[in-house]
C-alpha cells in the first residue's frame, strides 16, 4: 500500500486554483503532485464532456480551458494522480488516497488544499424523495455529460446557479416548470451594480436571464419549496411564497434545489487547523492570513476552500497561496513576493465585490429555517429529524459535537457535509445562539467513504500484521 513517494508540494484538487498553484510551484523547480478524484483537471467549473463526445466537446469554452490546463500540467512536468480520492491526511504530511484498484500513500513537505466547495441544501419535507437532486449536481450532469435530468423540471433555491442551470436545460431541450427563488426581484436588481464589476460573468448572466424570459419560464420569487411528494410519474411540489403565504402545487418530474455553496473544510478540520465562521464566505472556513496560509504550518488554502469568491478569482487565489509557500520555503525573495502578491491582492479585491453580491443572492432567509417541519430529516445519512435534534438540545446537548454523539447526526458517510449547516442554523435559532458558539464537527478520517474491498484487495490471513492481544 505504502508508496512513500516524496514531494515538495502536494496540491489536492485540480480545479483552476489547484492547477494555477501547482504550475506556480513547478515553475520554480519544486516537485509537485496534483491529486483529484475526477479523471482530469478542471474542477467543478471547467468540467468538460469526455473525449468520446467528439461532436460537442470541441466548441465549448470549458473544454478549451480544460485543454489548456492539461497542456500546462504536462509542460511543467507536474505529476498527476487523477481518479484518486484522498481519504486521510496526517501531519508531517502524509496523504492517503485510493483509486479503482488500490490505496497509496504520498509524503510531502507542504500542502496546498484546493478542494473547493460542495452544495448547500436547506431541508424541507420530502427533500430526500428520489427525484429531488442538488442544483450543483445538476450542473455536473449538464456540463460533463450534456444530460438533462428529465424532460420537465422544477429549479429551486437561490443565486446565479439557478439561472445558469435554467439556461442549459432550455438549451438542451428541457422544459422548466418553475424557478422557485428565495430572493426577490428587487434583490436581483440591487445586486446588478456589484455584479457589473465582473463584465464577463455579468454578460453570461444577462444571456441566461434573456433565455429564461424568452421561454416564459414561471418564476416564483421570495418563495421556497414547502413539500415534495412522489406521485405517479413524477413529483408534486408545493411552492410557498413566504411573503404572502400563498401556496401552489405543481407536478413535475425532477426538482433540482440548491442554496449556494459551502467551502470544503474536511482536510483542514482533520489537521486541526483553526476555523472561523463567516456566513458571507459560506459558513465555517479555515482561518487564513492575507496570503492564504492556514494556522497549520505548511498548509495553504487555494480557491474557495477558505471562503467563496468564485471561479474567476480561483486561479489568482492559487497564485497567492503558492507564492506564500514559495516565500516561506525561501525560494523567492521578499521583494519578489511583495511585488507579485501586491498585484494579485489588488485584482482579488475587485472580485470580492462580485463575490459579496453573489453571496447576498445566496443568503438564507430566516423563514427557510423556521419553516422546516419538526418531522423533516436533517441528517439523511442517519435519518435524524429536526425533532430529535431539538430533543437532544432540550436535554442539554450544548454544541454540534455533543448533538452528533447524542443523535448520530453527521456520523454517516457524508460526515455532516450535508447536515451541519442547516442543523447549526436550526439549533442556533432555537437557542438564540450564534452559530460560532455551537462549534463545528471535529474532522474525522476517512474524508470520503473507503470501500473495504478496494483498500484491502485479496490478502492471506498469515500476512495480516498482527497486534498483540491484551494481557490475560
Amino acid at each position: 500500500m505504502i508508496n512513500n513517494r516524496k514531494y515538495d508540494v502536494i496540491v489536492i484538487g485540480a480545479g483552476p486554483s489547484g492547477v494555477s498553484s501547482a504550475i506556480n510551484c513547478a515553475k520554480k523547480g519544486l516537485k509537485v503532485l496534483i491529486v483529484d478524484l475526477n479523471s482530469n483537471s478542471g474542477g467543478q467549473i471547467y468540467r468538460a464532456p469526455p473525449k468520446t463526445y467528439k461532436s460537442i466537446s470541441k466548441k465549448l469554452e470549458e473544454s478549451e480551458i480544460q485543454k489548456k490546463f492539461s497542456n500546462e500540467i504536462k509542460k511543467f512536468k507536474i505529476e498527476t494522480a487523477f481518479n484518486h480520492t484522498v481519504w486521510q491526511v496526517s501531519p508531517g504530511f502524509k496523504v492517503n488516497a485510493f483509486n479503482e484498484t488500490s490505496t497509496i500513500q504520498w509524503q510531502t513537505k507542504s500542502l496546498i488544499i484546493a478542494t473547493g466547495t460542495y452544495e448547500k441544501i436547506i431541508p424541507f419535507e420530502g427533500w430526500t424523495t428520489p427525484g429531488v437532486i442538488g442544483l450543483a449536481a445538476c450542473t455536473v450532469m449538464l456540463k460533463a455529460h450534456h444530460f438533462i435530468p428529465s424532460k420537465k423540471i422544477v429549479l429551486a433555491g437561490n443565486g446565479p446557479l439557478l439561472m445558469l442551470v435554467a439556461y442549459y436545460i432550455i438549451q438542451f431541450g428541457g422544459k422548466i416548470d418553475a424557478i422557485v427563488d428565495t430572493s426577490s426581484k428587487i434583490d436581483w436588481i440591487r445586486s446588478t451594480l456589484s455584479l457589473i464589476t465582473n463584465p464577463k460573468n455579468f454578460k453570461d448572466g444577462i444571456k441566461w436571464i434573456f433565455k429564461i424570459f424568452f421561454n416564459r419560464v414561471p418564476i416564483y420569487s421570495t418563495s421556497s419549496i414547502e413539500k415534495a411528494v412522489e406521485v405517479d410519474r413524477g413529483i408534486k411540489v408545493t411552492i410557498k411564497n413566504f411573503m404572502t403565504g400563498k401556496t401552489k402545487n405543481i407536478v413535475s418530474e425532477t426538482v433540482a434545489i440548491g442554496h449556494g455553496l459551502i467551502p470544503s473544510t474536511d482536510i483542514t478540520r482533520l489537521l486541526r487547523a483553526e476555523h472561523i465562521y463567516n456566513e458571507q464566505k459560506g459558513g465555517w472556513i479555515a482561518k487564513v492570513d492575507r496570503f492564504l496560509r492556514s494556522s497549520v504550518k505548511g498548509v495553504y488554502l487555494a480557491g474557495d476552500g477558505a471562503g467563496i469568491s468564485g471561479a474567476l478569482a480561483a486561479s489568482d487565489k492559487g497564485l497567492l497561496a503558492s507564492s506564500a509557500l514559495l516565500y516561506d520555503e525561501k525560494i523567492i525573495s521578499e521583494k519578489e513576493f511583495n511585488q507579485y502578491t501586491h498585484k494579485i491582492l489588488k485584482k482579488l479585491d475587485k472580485f470580492e465585490v462580485f463575490a459579496i453580491a453573489i453571496s447576498k443572492l445566496n443568503s438564507i432567509p430566516k423563514n427557510l429555517i423556521e419553516n422546516i417541519d419538526n418531522d423533516t430529516v436533517l441528517c439523511r445519512c442517519e435519518d435524524v429529524t429536526k425533532k430529535e435534534i431539538l430533543k437532544a438540545v432540550d436535554q442539554g446537548a450544548k454544541d454540534i459535537n455533543q448533538i452528533k454523539s447524542w443523535t448520530r447526526l453527521g456520523m454517516g458517510p457524508c460526515q455532516g457535509r450535508t447536515c451541519q449547516y442547516a442543523t447549526s442554523k436550526v439549533v442556533a435559532e432555537y437557542l438564540n445562539y450564534e452559530i460560532k458558539d455551537l462549534g463545528y464537527l471535529t474532522g474525522r478520517s476517512p474524508i470520503r467513504p473507503v470501500p473495504l474491498d478496494r483498500v484491502l484487495g485479496d490478502f492471506d490471513y498469515e500476512k495480516i500484521t498482527k497486534v498483540e492481544a491484551a494481557p490475560l
Partner: protein, 365 residues
C-alpha cells in the same frame, strides 16, 4: 465560593457511576469535567460487553457490570441502546486453537461461562463467520452498548438525581487544608468540598500530581472504525483468539470494527491521529472474521484514549494520607465494568464492607 459534599473530578463512566450512586444515597454531589459528560473514552469506545477480552481477574466484576448494562432502565436511563448478543471468539489456526482453549479455561475458572465449540456449532450460531475457523469459544454473556449515547444517558440520569455538573471546567489546583478540599479552576472560580473523588481517566496521572501523588498512567490511543449502514451481515459479537478485534453490527446497520489497534495521540492537547497501516490490519482481521463485511465502505474512523497502569489492573479506592479522598480509573475493559466499579466505590465511600484490596493504589507508591 460554592460548596458540595462530594466533588468528583472527571465525568466519564467511572465518575458518573460513582456520583449517581452517591446522589441516590442522599449526598450532594458535584461532577466536574473539562469537557462534557462522557465525552472522552466513555463516549467513544466500542461499547463491547464481552468476557472474551476481559482480564481473567476482572471477570467477576465484568459480569456484574454486564448485568447492570442489561438493566439500564432500572438505574440509568432508557435513552441508551443496549443489546444482548452471543459472543464468539474465533481461532483460525492450530496455534490459536490451543491458545483459545487455554485462555478460555482460565477465564472460566474466574467465572466466565465460556465453552469451546466446533466450527459447525459456531456456524450454526452465526452463519456469517468465516468457514475456515478451527474452533470458537462461545459465551452467552456478551453484547454491546451504543457508546455514543453514554453522555446523553448519564447527563440525564445525573440531572434527575440532582447531581450538579460543571462541564467545561478545567481544574488547575487542589488545595487540601483542614481535611477539606478547595478546587481551583482555570477560570478562577473555586469549589469547596468535604470529599474528593478523582476519576479523570487518561488524565489521572496529572490529576493525582495535584495532590503530590506520583504514579504512571499510560495513555493508549486506540482506533475505531465504523462502516456505513448495510443490510444485516452478522448477529454476534466477534472477537479473535490471537490479536485485537471486536466486531458487531448495530441495530442501525453500521458495523463497528474495534479491538484496540493503536493510533497516535497525546493527552496534552487531546490530539489523536490514525495510523493507516493499523487501520488496514484491523480491517483485514475484521473482513477475515466476517467475509461479507468486505462489500461495505468505511464511513468514519476515530480514536479513544485508554488509561492503563503499569500492571494493567485498575486503581480503585481510598487515597492514602488524605481524608475522604478516593480514586477510580484504569479499569481494563472499563466500559463493561465501569458501572459496577463505580457502585462499589460509592459503597466503600458510604462505609460498607467492600473489598477493593486488589485495586489499591498503594501498590504503586
Amino acid at each position: 465560593m460554592t460548596q458540595t459534599d462530594v466533588a468528583i473530578i472527571g465525568g466519564g463512566i467511572n465518575g458518573g457511576s460513582t456520583g449517581l450512586e452517591l446522589a441516590k444515597n442522599g449526598l450532594d454531589v458535584t461532577i466536574i469535567d473539562k469537557n462534557f459528560i462522557c465525552r472522552g473514552a466513555s463516549g467513544v469506545n466500542a461499547g463491547t460487553l464481552t468476557m472474551h477480552m476481559t482480564r481473567a481477574q476482572l471477570i467477576p466484576y465484568a459480569k456484574k457490570g454486564w448485568e447492570l448494562w442489561m438493566n439500564t432502565s432500572k438505574w440509568l436511563s432508557n435513552d441508551i441502546d443496549v443489546e444482548k448478543k452471543n459472543g464468539l471468539c474465533l481461532a483460525f489456526t492450530e496455534d490459536e486453537e490451543k491458545l483459545l482453549i487455554e485462555r478460555s479455561k482460565i477465564r472460566k475458572e474466574y467465572g466466565a461461562d465460556i465453552t469451546i465449540i466446533s466450527r459447525k456449532e459456531a456456524k450454526r450460531i452465526d452463519s456469517n463467520i468465516n468457514s475456515k475457523i478451527k474452533c470458537a469459544a462461545f459465551c452467552e454473556m456478551d453484547g454491546y452498548v451504543s457508546a455514543n449515547q453514554t453522555g446523553h444517558a448519564y447527563s440525564k440520569a445525573l440531572k434527575e438525581n440532582k447531581v450538579k455538573m460543571l462541564e467545561n471546567y478545567d481544574v488547575s489546583e487542589i488545595d487540601y487544608r483542614k481535611n477539606k478540599y478547595v478546587i481551583i479552576f482555570k477560570n478562577g472560580e473555586k469549589l469547596f468540598a468535604s470529599s474528593l473523588i478523582l476519576a479523570t481517566g487518561v488524565h489521572l496521572e496529572k490529576t493525582l500530581k495535584l495532590l503530590q501523588i506520583n504514579i504512571n498512567i499510560k495513555c493508549l490511543p486506540q482506533q475505531l472504525i465504523v462502516s456505513e449502514r448495510m443490510p444485516k451481515i452478522m448477529d454476534t459479537v466477534i472477537t479473535v483468539a490471537n490479536g485485537k478485534l471486536s466486531l458487531k453490527q448495530f441495530k442501525n446497520g453500521t458495523v463497528l470494527i474495534g479491538g484496540g489497534w493503536p493510533g497516535k495521540g497525546n493527552i496534552e492537547d487531546n490530539y489523536t491521529e490514525t495510523k493507516p497501516e493499523n487501520l488496514i490490519g484491523n480491517m483485514m482481521l475484521a473482513c477475515h472474521a466476517v467475509p461479507k463485511l468486505k462489500s461495505s465502505r468505511v464511513a468514519r474512523v476515530w480514536l479513544g484514549l485508554e488509561a492503563e497502569t503499569d500492571d494493567a489492573m485498575p486503581i480503585i479506592g481510598k487515597l492514602p494520607k488524605f481524608k475522604n479522598a478516593y480514586v477510580i480509573g484504569s479499569i481494563h475493559s472499563g466500559y463493561t465494568s465501569g458501572p459496577y466499579m463505580g457502585k462499589l466505590l460509592a459503597e466503600k465511600f458510604l462505609g460498607k464492607d467492600v473489598d477493593l484490596s486488589l485495586f489499591d493504589i498503594k501498590r504503586f507508591l
